[in-house]
Symmetry: C2
Subunit: 305 residues, 2 copies
């Protein structure tokens, strides 16, 4: 009997996409950071959800306000990755009956803090008994039709950039207090032509492969160019995951000007890390040493199953 | 230390409403079946979520397709209870790694069957490792501004009607295959003035009390008039919960014509069960015996914590 653990998350999502099928009234369904739906004039709606589970995504010892912040922030990051802004959220909460009321109040303190920072209104949800704490947030956002960005738009020759620095998010606790790159995505989208974008949740190696798969291309990145957090190895920068930085592909002719603009306008930094190449057989993402030699690509990332 | 079990679900939701606060851009936030948000011209958006958890809402032995059906149907029912229609859903799924792929495929079969029946498009979601199976569905729907119905609109003198029959939903397995009353709610809304509406998830006694609390009124129902499923006691009809029938309050002057219309147009049945009274001290819902004597009101319903 085939089990989910043998399938892995990506294959599971592929199958879910097949099981669910396509619909003409849906602009983009399963397979991007958010679903894209018909919206009011000139806009698309963005719709997504992300679940955090006690013992998998956080432990009992963690400040519940940090869990609340993260539960909303991962969804806000999904809206940012489409080029849009988050608007409304509903929160489903599974709680053991023995949960202290103060825990839930603090969880909501974190949710509210994140909501206030990004202009999100928490408008509803569900509460239920559960053996473990489960928090699932669904988000509704919007994006101008002219500014929506998918994973699937990367073309050969595009240059790859990443915001901020990578690696060590779980170990350092950054995964609980990261600031979704909404402002950066909006600034980028207002000024530059972005072909493809994704937020780095499972590690650069995996998430860049997602862009390549969706776009039908391959990519080459330079090991020496990856912006790493202090004390992080190359492997950690590629595979730790939970960075929630933006990975973007832009036309080659804009790359130089974008790099200069980024230096001036994005305090978090914007680093050119490689380029998009034509579709190729074998590994879609190639990691290059300064010597020009190819390096093995660590792929572990966050293991969903 | 105060715990959730001592607080109960209704008080928890009240507190969540206070913690989250209000916002002018939200038409209706926490405290109804769906949040109501500004929509495209002439319409409001409806946004809600509902979570099912293994061991709490279903057991291992249950057909996963039935769980999938129910997970979406409870959300569809929330849209119906606002007078609207469901449009899109995202599905967050927590799964033990040992879950057979066939289980998930069957779960999606049930989701898809419900989606097809009600014209809902499943457009995304999340999959995660979890010690127990968790399925949280968020739904996006719409309703004409002129036809949205809240829990809070009941007025003294309104007559109370309920669709279908009540009681025994869990015991009979009906809770896994119930058909949300979207069609009935739409037919009613097109033809009749509905002051208040709710779907019966926690039992008539509890859910009628919710209408009374939200509307600032009380209510009297006639024990002899409650439409019960075969073999169900009065207590079961009042307190079993998970009926997912509609409870509605309509102006007194329309009640007679509505009853006649219901007989002709609603195959599930539409039964007049009581009336709305002014706000009063003490119990908001009074249950009357044919003798005119007041009966004690069983209130247990589905216990969330």
């Amino acid at each position: 009997m085939s089990r989910i653990s043998a399938l892995g998350e990506r294959e599971l999502i592929r199958r879910v996409g097949r099981w669910v099928g396509k619909s003409r009234s849906v602009i983009r369904g399963i397979g991007d950071d958010c679903a894209v739906l018909p919206g009011p004039s000139g806009k698309h709606l963005l719709f997504a959800s992300d679940m955090l589970i006690q013992g998998v995504h956080f432990t009992d010892k963690i400040d519940p306000a940090a869990v609340g912040w993260k539960a909303l922030a991962v969804n806000v990051s999904d809206a940012a990755a489409m080029g849009g802004i988050p608007l409304y959220a509903v929160v489903s909460l599974g709680l053991p009956p023995s949960t202290p009321v103060a825990f839930v109040e603090n969880l909501y303190r974190g949710l509210r803090r994140c909501a206030a920072r990004f202009g999100v209104r928490i408008v509803g949800g569900d509460t239920d008994r559960s053996p473990k704490i489960v928090i699932d947030v669904a988000i509704l956002g919007e994006v101008e039709k002219s500014r929506v960005v998918y994973r699937s738009g990367a073309r050969s020759g595009d240059q790859l950039f990443v915001t901020g620095r990578l690696g060590g998010s779980l170990r350092s606790g950054r995964h609980l207090r990261f600031v979704p790159r909404v402002r950066e995505a909006r600034l980028l989208g207002a000024r530059w032509r972005i072909h493809a974008m994704i937020d780095l949740s499972d590690g650069l190696a995996v998430d860049l492969d997602r862009i390549c798969e969706a776009s039908g291309v391959s990519a080459r990145i330079a090991a020496a160019d990856l912006p790493r957090h202090g004390g992080c190895s190359l492997t950690q920068a590629l595979a730790d995951g939970e960075d929630f930085e933006l990975l973007i592909a832009v036309p080659r002719r804009e790359a130089k000007a974008l790099a200069a603009w980024g230096k001036k306008n994005l305090r978090c930094g914007l680093t050119r890390i490689g380029e998009i190449l034509p579709r190729r057989a074998g590994e879609r993402v190639q990691l290059m040493a300064p010597s020009g030699r190819r390096l093995p690509l660590p792929r572990e990332g966050f293991r969903h199953f």
